[in-house]
């Protein structure tokens, strides 16, 4: 669909990234498939650091304290970066994906958190930043960042997901990141929006809050007041440190379970109103077009979803035998209740183990031990949340919404494993 050059989803992967991954997988395959591991290692120069030899990094002191005032990952992890297409029409209104298949647990490192912005990333001096709260309130107020941090604080773990993650049309992505990488999860710290609204005296006729960012798009979305008085947060920290600029430094709105775009970054203004703004972002964009030409508006919730991140597209199983199947599941409607995994193309399903803690509107890690017999297989996961909603198949979703709905594709993602262990997108 050539609807827009301002896409949330572009299935292209950087060629360098794919080259690195496939190159690495190929080398691993040679070593593992050989079976004569000792001989294989002895033939490589690095084998001198394996037993019985003393590793070279034990024979000399390492880097001194202070060589990295802000720590960065090992140089051997330099390939684990955001998945940013090199084929985007432009990079001011664009998105970059989390490399889900390279991560463990449920917390996304701040440097790998997915990005979506509509007018670039502003550099905002927190001392000069202001939050204005006005409209249907008794006392319109202006807050400095110091003011915001004086309110009672709270910390909660929640996922954020872009609603175009992925779109419904071909070409389909190759990796978990290509497909569902506009998804991340963090521990957020801030103040309950309800407290801030009480401070201004919210009037009963206020039914929506219009939130506006201080970026070059002055991005504007309308939030139903029920959400504002429930679990909405004004967040200033993420995973223990202040928000990154890409995540809205110094202040963002956090609406757990709602589509990413509504979680307005660089938040500068909240206006209490009786009806929504009907801004460009909630009419011409972020509305879900149906086959009959109607378009659903104000589609806020991200429905239950899951994806297997290992083994997943672009990876390779080295040899038959034990392989853990693992991935993440999440729901905008609450806690994940169950994740089922099929290893036979969807004929039979078994319950995966859920890693504690299972949190509301947060990623939940699931695992299933698996013995791969070396035969071709199709593996997939299906999430069920505490409302008993079941993640649909892609064909079930397409039958109702067609291919042009663009947003809120939460379909089951099957991966095909061939006899050589190569994993690809089974939908492709």
């Amino acid at each position: 669909m050539a609807e827009s050059t301002d896409l949330d989803d572009d299935p292209a992967v950087t060629s360098r990234r794919r080259f690195l991954r496939e190159g690495g997988a190929l080398m691993g395959g040679v070593v593992l498939a050989n079976g004569l591991v000792g001989e294989a290692l002895a033939a490589t120069p690095d084998a001198g650091n394996a037993p019985p030899n003393i590793p070279e990094w034990m024979k000399t002191p390492g880097d001194p304290m202070g060589s990295q005032p802000y720590g960065t990952p090992s140089p051997f992890e330099k390939g684990v970066v955001k998945n940013i297409s090199k084929k985007l029409p432009q990079y001011l209104s664009a998105s970059g994906r989390t490399p889900l298949q390279d991560l463990d647990g449920i917390i996304t490192p701040n440097g790998l958190f997915y990005e979506r912005h509509h007018g670039g990333v502003p550099t905002i001096d927190p001392d000069q930043h202001r939050l204005m709260l006005h409209g249907l309130v008794d006392r319109p107020l202006i807050f400095t960042m110091d003011d915001i941090r004086r309110f009672p604080s709270e910390s909660r773990i929640h996922f954020l997901e872009c609603s175009g993650n992925p779109v419904y049309t071909k070409p389909y992505g190759k990796t978990a990141s290509d497909l569902v990488g506009l998804l991340s999860c963090a521990e957020w710290t801030g103040v309950s929006l309800k407290l801030v609204l009480q401070e201004a005296g919210l009037r009963p006729e206020a039914k929506w809050l219009v939130a506006e960012g201080a970026d070059a798009a002055a991005l504007t979305r309308s939030i139903p007041i029920e959400k504002c008085l429930d679990d909405a947060m004004l967040a200033y920290s993420q995973n223990g440190e202040r928000l990154r600029p890409q995540q809205g430094y110094p202040l963002r709105l956090l609406l757990p379970g709602f589509e990413g775009n509504m979680n307005v970054k660089w938040l500068r203004r909240l206006k209490a109103v009786a009806e929504p703004a009907y801004s460009r972002e909630e009419t011409s964009k972020y509305t879900d077009l149906m086959p009959d030409g109607t378009a659903r508006e104000f589609t806020f919730y991200m429905e239950a979803k899951s994806i297997i991140t290992r083994p997943s597209g672009g990876q390779k199983l080295g040899a038959p035998g034990f392989h853990e199947i693992t991935g993440v599941a999440w729901s905008g409607h609450g806690k994940i209740k169950r994740v089922d995994v099929s290893v036979d193309g969807g004929k039979n399903w078994q319950m995966a183990h859920l890693q504690e803690p299972v949190l509301t509107r947060a990623l939940t890690r699931f695992r299933l031990p698996w013995h791969w017999d070396g035969q071709p297989a199709v593996i997939q996961s299906r999430a069920i949340d505490e409302t008993d909603y079941v993640q649909p198949t892609f064909s079930e979703l397409l039958a109702v919404r067609g291919e042009n709905s663009f947003y809120h594709n939460n379909a089951i993602q099957p991966w095909r494993i061939d006899a050589q262990g190569q994993v690809t997108n089974a939908n492709a």
Partner: protein
Amino acid sequence: MRMREFAVTVLALVALGSVTDARAQSPYGIGRTATAAEIAGWNIDIGRNGENLPPGSGSVSHGREVFDQQCAACHGAKGEGGVGDRLVGGQGTIATAKPVKTVGSYWPYAPTLFDYIRRAMPQNAPQSLGNDDVYAVSAYILSLNGLLAADATLDAGTLSAIKMPNRGMFVGDPRPDVRNPACESGC
């Protein structure tokens, strides 16, 4: 004596409370009052029916000049799209297999065009166009879509009066709309 001191203190606090009456209703007393001028400077929202549209006006012909200078590089000389979104055409395609979403074919409210151009366009210099230029370029885009005469001039009243073709096609969120029976074996 201590009781008397306590009573005096309480009285003093009550008196203070009555002086700062408005703030007494704020549980934490954090933040300061926003003035009308401060709010007016930041409150750039335009309602879907044209609420808060500023004074001023702009003609289709002036809008073409502004568009050529400020918009055409990304959106194409006739709004056909490029690095930026396609703005023109597509009417009648929305319910087909190849929908073309543009201002003319998809946007439900004309005043939103003014709101969005003023706050976010041109992408390299948002909030740089004067209100007359925003009216003018809005007029030109609406004209290219056949929604405004080529010799027309747009202002708050005429912009609010335009009925967009796709306006009646937006519906609420019916989800959950897709059911997976969650078959467990022999599926």
